[in-house]
């Protein structure tokens, strides 16, 4: 087996969806690099990275919920309206009813839960297609936003703004960086190494082919490198700035929901329902409960996204949430989810959302107008899904494979060296 194949199979997993995901990561890195050069280094500058996360955290949070909705075979068009409706109520609750802001956040999440229960009821227990229920919800809650807010903007108090525009505190010795962000980065790096070791243990327990040692190390080095780079970037922003709080909320949600969808029975039931609902039902999955949950969960996340946006904008306005559903849905599909349901991952959707975000940001830094940005984003969405469809019709998918094809012919006779972990990394550079 050639090392390229090893790499392809193991670096990001061997299955098609993983390969797809790797394709998107590759695209993301490529886009970042292209803009980094094009904008003379503005793209990866700390203030821009911070802004990028603040600007997109709410869309990415929506994408998490949307992924689960789409995997279960539904769609939610109402998220923007639900976000706006929650936003205006939460803003009112603080300015007019003097609710303290932490209570207002709880209040907002409760609104999301109630709306979600309403939509989930129609979808799961009455059997109205989610498209219709949420189309209705889109009108209902948009109207509700205008009814309550009289189409005016309502400002929100200082403390509440933290969840959208806040940063980690400054403490400890003056290192020239934001210490809190550095600590977070360190924790992330440790977590990555720990996870790799756990993964190796698991592989061994499964008596599967162990991943070659050099790949494990390469993978860790890449991940830790990225984390270290990101942590330093985020920590080196203007004094008072750091990795944004909205970004921390996002990362926490991504980790929690990734774990839920991958490693729990509840998560697996969502995929089962989306893949074949009748078969899932006959395997003991409680169909209605799963459908109810995904719809309700989506609205809770939409409420959270709405609050984060309001916090960042410092006011709830009548235009909040316009078009968010489309951004979230696009992120999920670019990230490799299937329209018919049953396929997709949280991390894929996040990468898909980041591709759109970086594209948006880079083009704006270049002074490209929103009209053209929209055209480009539309084409990217179409292209990403078209490549996916085409590759599925061709049987297999592998971006690395297609990239490496020109080299592979010469590589057909693998170097006859023993799989010695110590020596591999040095060679990897040559053959890879």
């Amino acid at each position: 087996m050639s090392r390229i194949k090893d790499l392809q199979k193991n670096l990001f997993g061997g299955t098609t969806s993983n390969a797809r995901q790797f394709g998107m990561i590759f695209t993301l890195v490529a886009i970042v690099l292209i803009f980094q050069i094009w904008t003379n280094g503005l793209t990866l500058r700390s203030d821009n990275l911070i802004a990028l996360f603040q600007q997109n955290s709410y869309i990415l949070i929506l994408a998490i919920g949307m992924l689960m909705v789409i995997v279960a075979g539904h769609i939610d068009l109402s998220v923007g309206s639900v976000a706006a409706f929650t936003g205006i109520l939460v803003a009112k609750s603080m300015t007019e009813w003097d609710l303290p802001w932490p209570a207002a956040i709880v209040f907002g999440l409760a609104i999301g839960a109630v709306i979600g229960a309403w939509q989930g009821f129609w979808v799961a227990y009455v059997g109205v297609p989610a498209f219709i229920v949420t189309l209705a919800g889109m009108l209902l809650f948009r109207g509700g936003n205008q009814f309550i807010g009289n189409a005016q903007s309502i400002p929100v108090p200082e403390g509440f703004r933290e969840i959208g525009s806040g940063f980690l505190p400054e403490f400890g010795p003056n290192t020239g960086y934001n210490n809190a962000t550095l600590l977070l980065g360190l924790a992330a790096a440790v977590a990555v190494v720990w996870r790799e070791i756990q993964a190796r243990k698991t592989r061994r327990a499964m008596d599967a082919d162990p991943v070659p040692m050099w790949i494990s190390i390469l993978r860790m080095a890449v991940m830790v490198g990225v984390i270290a780079f990101a942590a330093l970037r985020f920590a080196s922003g203007r004094v008072g700035t750091s990795f944004p709080i909205s970004g921390i909320i996002l990362v926490a949600l991504v980790i929690a929901y990734s774990f839920y969808t991958r490693n729990t029975a509840g998560g697996r039931h969502i995929y089962a329902v989306g893949g074949n609902s009748r078969a899932a039902e006959l395997s003991g999955v409680k169909l209605k409960r799963v459908n109810f949950f995904v719809m309700m969960n989506m609205s809770v996340l939409a409420a959270l996204a709405g609050m984060i946006f309001v916090a960042r904008s410092q006011a709830s306005g009548p235009q909040d949430g316009n078009g968010w559903e489309l951004d979230a849905i696009a992120a999920v599909f670019i990230g490799g989810a299937a329209v018919a349901g049953g396929i997709g991952t949280i991390s894929g959707s996040i990468v898909g959302g980041l591709v759109m975000a970086v594209l948006n940001n880079g083009l704006q830094l270049q002074g490209v107008g929103t009209d053209k940005v929209q055209i480009i984003k539309g084409l990217v969405l179409l292209l990403a899904v078209a490549i996916d469809v085409y590759n599925k019709s061709q049987g297999r998918f592998s971006i690395i494979g297609s990239l490496m094809r020109p080299f592979r012919r010469d590589d057909s006779v693998p170097p006859a060296s023993p799989p010695d972990a110590e020596r591999e990394p040095a060679k990897a550079a040559v053959s890879g």
């Binding site: 400002p155 040692m213 860790m220 490198g225 203007r238 946006f309 410092q314 078009g323 704006q364």
Partner: protein, 367 residues
């Protein structure tokens, strides 16, 4: 296992070192925020201009004037419009991008005046001056200047013209009128409306002027997003509900786009054309005025407003204090903003030729 650990630690720390090295050193931005603004900045600096979505030709014109005017003055210009649907989020991102690119002055025509405080604060912290163009940005202490036409005056002129126009058609009242106002998220919409009501209210109280539908509250008269279809739909409903037999004498419309939509609705219903006010001197409306349909518009010559804004930018570049003529009236919720106000001009068929004599696009229409 130990071997694995050893190699990984080496590799991982190597990666971290690499990232460190690539990252350069320490925090940036410490100095720029404390920089002395009075010294001005380089003559070829970047100036950002963030405008709302291209919903009226006035904004398109302003954008062109900014691009050309700033370039002529030797600056680099980055002029951006918000997208059609995701306006606020777009504008927030655009302002942030301008800040990132190191714009020295950012001119903002806000889509939602209440939702830009975070970005304005960031721009200010990065050392940029922020000028609110045409619409006052609220609830932020970081806004530096405000340039606009005297919008209360605009409303007063509209109200007066409405009365004059109706009197010219029909010497004696009572007159039936309907009221329209602009987007509720636009700070100016309320100012226009209040200005107009300043003139109309006494007449209404006297019973000389009647709002036949009874819809006098700004919440009822507002047209979300200044959208023409919204005004047309509302007018359609008013005609059906109120003017089955009654005659409609006049309509207070806050701008030309809405005025034309109102006229379309009235004509569609087969009613005689009432006196309709407007604002902005849009091409189609000027044509309409010359034809005798729309009664009046306001000439807030965008050229002058842009010119004054660019003058401010130039003054800031030189390190001077820009000229302002109102330091009391415009409180944005956090502070009283230094303001430069330009006077608006009411234009009817009678004075159109004179009013647009200097406008290359509009002057031919009046001949």
């Amino acid at each position: 296992m130990r071997k694995f650990f050893g190699t990984s630690v080496v590799a991982v720390s190597a990666a971290a070192m690499l990232a460190l090295a690539g990252c350069g050193s320490g925090r940036d931005g410490d100095s720029s925020s404390s920089g002395d603004a009075a010294k001005g900045f380089a003559a070829n600096s970047l100036i950002g201009v963030a405008l709302p979505a291209k919903t009226s030709e006035n904004w398109v014109l302003a954008g062109d004037l900014f691009s050309n005017g700033l370039k002529e003055a030797g600056f680099q210009a980055d002029v951006q419009y918000a997208g059609a649907s995701t306006t606020v989020a777009d504008q927030q991102a655009q302002i942030t991008a301008m800040t990132t690119k190191g714009a020295k002055v950012i001119v903002i025509g806000a889509t939602d005046a209440a939702q830009l405080a975070t970005q304005v604060a960031a721009a200010h912290a990065a050392g940029a001056k922020v000028i609110a163009y045409d619409r006052l940005i609220t609830n932020t202490p970081d806004l530096d200047y405000y340039v606009a036409f005297d919008n209360f005056k605009v409303g007063q002129l509209q109200g007066q013209a409405l009365l004059d126009g109706m009197k010219a058609k029909k010497p004696n009242g009572p007159y039936n009128i309907e009221l329209f106002s602009g987007s509720p998220d636009d700070n100016n919409a309320g100012v226009f409306f209040n200005g107009a009501m300043d003139v109309l209210k006494p007449e209404i109280d006297k019973g000389n002027v009647v709002v036949a539908s009874g819809q006098k509250d700004v919440k009822q008269t507002a047209i979300q997003g200044w959208k023409a279809e919204g005004a047309q739909a509302r007018m359609d409903q008013l005609l059906t509900s109120t003017y089955g037999s009654k005659e409609l004498d006049g309509v207070l419309s806050p701008n030309d786009t809405l005025a034309r939509a109102i006229l379309t609705s009235v004509k569609g219903a087969g009613k005689p054309v009432p006196v309709v006010t407007g604002q902005d001197s849009e091409v189609e409306s000027v044509k309409s005025i010359v034809k005798g349909e729309q009664y009046m518009t306001i000439n807030k010559d965008t050229r002058n407003l842009v010119k004054e804004t660019i003058n401010m930018v130039k003054a800031l570049q030189a390190g001077d204090k820009p000229q302002v003529n109102d330091t009391e009236s415009y409180n944005n919720g956090s502070k009283v903003v230094d303001t430069y106000l330009l006077p608006p001009v009411a234009v009817t068929k009678a004075n159109a030729a004179e009013a647009y004599a200097n406008d290359p696009k509009l002057a031919p229409l009046t001949k």
